[in-house]
C-alpha cells in the first residue's frame, strides 16, 4: 500500500506536485493518469526516495522509502527502461541489483525466465530493443518478489503480444494481493488494465476512484437501439418528456438519458420488435478529457 499525504514538490518557482494526497490499495491494479507535466513522474520518484518532497510525505507500507531495509524486497519499480549501463549484460545488471539487497542469484535466472529474456541474458543491454529493455526493467522490478510494484509506461516499445502479456501479468500480481501502481498515457490500454484510478493535473489530485465510477461520473450512458419498427419507437420515446434527443446513425437510434430496460419494457408493451438494445458505456478517454480539460500542457490547434 502506498500513501501520500500533502505531498508537495517545488523546483525553484515551479510547483511540480501540489499538496497531493492519495492511497493505493493492495490487491488492485491502480492507474496513475494525468496530462504531460501533471507531476506523475515526480510523484513516483518521491515514492522511491529519489527526490525529496518539499512538504508532506509519502509512505510505502507505512514507512518512508529511505527507512526500508532491503527496499527491493518491498517495492519493485520500473520507471525508465533505459536506466541500464549499455555495456553491461542483462544478467550482470540484475546480479548487482540482487546482490545489493541480499537476493539469491538463482532469483536472477527466475526473473529472466519470467520475462522471457533467458536466451539473451548474456548480451549487452545497450543492444536491446526498447521492448527487450522494457522486459529487463520489469525483471528488475520483480527481483525482490516485492509486495508493491510501480510501473511507468510499462507497454512502451512492447509489441501486441508483449502488451497483452504485461496486462495479464499485472492483473495476476494484483490477484496475488500485491499493490500495483501503473502510470500511462494510453487510456484505451488503462481502461482494460486498471481497476482503480488516481488522476492528477497540474500537480493536484483531480480524482481518486474506481475506473468504472470515474467513467460513470464524467460521461453520459447512451443506449443504441435497432428495430424494424424504429419510427414507432421514436414516436413513443419522443412522447416521454424526459428523453433526450435521439440521433440516427447507420439505421440505429442512439438514446440518451434512459435505462435500456425502460426502452425494452416500452417496446414489449407496444408490440415492437427489437433487433438491438445495447447500453453504450462512455470511454475512459472521454471521461479523462472531460475532467482534465484545464490542465494540459500543449494544445494543438484543430
Amino acid at each position: 500500500m502506498i500513501e501520500a499525504t500533502g505531498l508537495t514538490k517545488h523546483y525553484g518557482k515551479t510547483v511540480a506536485v501540489d499538496d497531493l494526497s492519495f492511497s493505493v490499495q493492495p490487491g488492485r491494479v491502480t492507474g496513475f493518469l494525468g496530462p504531460n507535466g501533471a507531476g506523475k513522474s515526480t510523484t513516483m520518484r518521491m515514492i522511491l526516495g529519489l527526490d525529496s518532497p518539499t512538504r508532506g510525505k509519502v509512505t510505502v507500507k507505512g514507512r518512508d522509502y529511505r527507512s526500508l531495509h532491503d527496499p527491493l524486497r518491498v517495492v519493485g519499480a520500473l520507471l525508465d527502461a533505459k536506466w541500464v549501463h549499455p555495456n553491461r549484460s542483462a544478467r550482470a545488471h540484475l546480479q548487482w541489483l540482487a546482490k545489493s539487497n541480499r537476493i539469491p542469484s538463482r532469483r536472477v535466472d527466475e526473473v529472466l525466465d519470467i520475462v522471457g529474456l533467458t536466451q539473451v541474458a548474456k548480451r549487452r543491454a545497450g543492444g536491446f530493443s526498447l521492448g527487450m529493455s522494457q522486459r529487463l526493467g520489469i525483471a528488475g522490478a520483480l527481483l525482490g518478489d516485492p509486495e508493491v510494484l510501480m510501473f511507468d509506461e510499462p507497454v512502451n516499445g512492447l509489441d501486441p503480444e508483449g502488451i497483452l502479456w504485461i496486462r495479464q501479468f499485472m492483473h495476476r500480481l494484483a490477484d496475488e494481493g500485491r499493490t500495483v501502481f501503473v502510470s500511462s498515457h494510453l487510456l484505451s490500454e488503462m481502461a482494460q488494465t486498471a481497476q482503480d484510478l488516481i488522476v492528477i493535473g497540474r500537480g493536484k489530485l483531480i480524482s481518486q476512484t474506481s475506473t468504472e465510477q470515474f467513467i460513470k461520473d464524467a460521461t453520459e450512458d447512451t443506449v443504441r437501439v435497432r428495430s424494424p419498427q424504429l419510427d414507432r419507437l421514436r414516436e413513443l420515446l419522443a412522447g416521454r418528456a424526459r428523453i433526450a434527443d435521439a440521433a440516427a446513425s447507420d439505421g440505429a437510434l442512439v438514446v440518451h438519458g434512459v435505462e435500456p430496460s425502460f426502452i425494452g419494457e416500452l417496446a414489449a408493451a407496444n408490440g415492437i420488435t427489437l433487433h438491438e438494445l445495447s447500453p453504450q458505456l462512455g470511454s475512459l478517454e472521454e471521461a479523462f478529457m472531460q475532467l482534465t480539460k484545464e490542465s494540459v500542457e500543449y494544445h494543438a490547434a484543430d
Partner: protein, 253 residues
C-alpha cells in the same frame, strides 16, 4: 560487505574500467621502459623508475570519475539509490572498491616500472630499495593512486557528467597547476600548495643523496615533508569526497 560485492560486479561487468587500468599500467611501465633503456652515463636512481607514474595517475582518476559519472549518464544511479536509499553506504562501498583497486594498479605500475628498469638500465647500482625513502618512491605510488581515485570520485559525484569531471581533473592537473606559477610575485607561493604538485613531492621528494645524479634535483615543490605532502593531498581528496557525500545525500537523484 554485500555492497562491496555490488560495486565490484558493477565495475567489472563493463569494459571501460579494464581498459583504463590496462592503460594506466601500460603507460607508466612502458614510458619507464623507454627511459630505463636510454639512461646513459650514470647509475639509474629509484626515483628515475617512477617519474612516469603521473600519466598513470591521470588515467586512473578518469576511471574513478567514470565509475560514478556513468551511473548518472545511464540512470543506474537511480537503481542504486532505489536498492540502498541511504545513499551514503553505496557511495562509500564504491569508494572502497575503486580506491583499493586504484592503489593496487599503482603498486603494480610502480613495482613493474622498477622491475623493468632492473632489466633494461645499464647501471643498476643505485636501483636497490635500500632505505625507507627508496621504498616510499616506489610503494608510495599506490597511495597516491588511491588518494587520486578518491578525489576523482568526489569530483565525479559532484559534477555528474563524464566530460565535465574529466576536464576538471585534467585541466587542473596539467594546465592550471603549472600556469599558476607564472603569476608574478605570489605565483610560486600558490604553486607550493597545488595538490598534484605536492603529491609529486611525496613520490619524488627527499631522495637519498646517493640516489640522485649531481645537480639534477627532482621537481619537488612545496614546503611540506614528503609524508606531510601526502597527508595534504589525501586530505584534499577526502574533503572533496566528503562534500560529495553530503551533496549526493541531499540532492534529488
Amino acid at each position: 560487505m554485500t555492497l562491496l560485492a555490488v560495486e565490484r560486479i558493477k565495475l567489472f561487468s563493463t569494459r571501460s574500467p579494464w581498459w583504463c587500468m590496462l592503460l594506466a599500467l601500460g603507460l607508466t611501465v612502458g614510458l619507464t621502459a623507454i627511459i630505463a633503456a636510454n639512461w646513459d652515463g650514470s647509475p639509474m636512481p629509484v626515483m628515475g623508475a617512477v617519474f612516469t607514474h603521473t600519466f598513470g595517475l591521470y588515467v586512473i582518476m578518469v576511471m574513478a570519475a567514470l565509475a560514478v559519472t556513468t551511473e548518472y549518464r545511464f540512470g543506474t544511479i537511480k537503481s542504486t539509490f532505489q536498492a540502498a536509499p541511504d545513499r551514503t553506504s553505496p557511495m562509500i562501498a564504491k569508494a572502497v572498491v575503486v580506491v583499493l583497486l586504484s592503489a593496487l594498479v599503482g603498486l603494480a605500475a610502480s613495482f613493474g616500472s622498477w622491475g623493468l628498469s632492473w632489466l633494461l638500465a645499464d647501471d643498476t647500482s643505485q636501483l636497490a630499495l635500500s632505505s625507507g625513502n627508496d621504498w616510499r618512491h616506489v610503494a608510495g605510488v599506490g597511495l597516491v593512486f588511491g588518494a587520486g581515485a578518491l578525489l576523482a570520485l568526489g569530483i565525479g559525484a559532484l559534477v555528474r557528467q563524464t566530460a565535465g569531471a574529466v576536464s576538471i581533473i585534467l585541466v587542473f592537473a596539467l594546465v592550471l597547476e603549472n600556469v599558476v606559477g607564472l603569476i608574478p610575485n605570489i605565483g610560486d607561493d600558490i604553486q607550493n600548495w597545488m595538490p598534484f604538485l605536492v603529491a609529486q613531492k611525496f613520490i619524488l621528494g627527499d631522495p637519498d643523496p646517493s640516489g640522485i645524479p649531481d645537480g639534477a634535483g627532482p621537481p619537488a615543490i612545496g614546503e611540506l615533508s614528503p609524508w606531510g605532502s601526502f597527508a595534504y593531498f589525501a586530505g584534499i581528496a577526502l574533503a572533496i569526497y566528503i562534500i560529495s557525500l553530503v551533496v549526493v545525500k541531499r540532492r534529488d537523484a
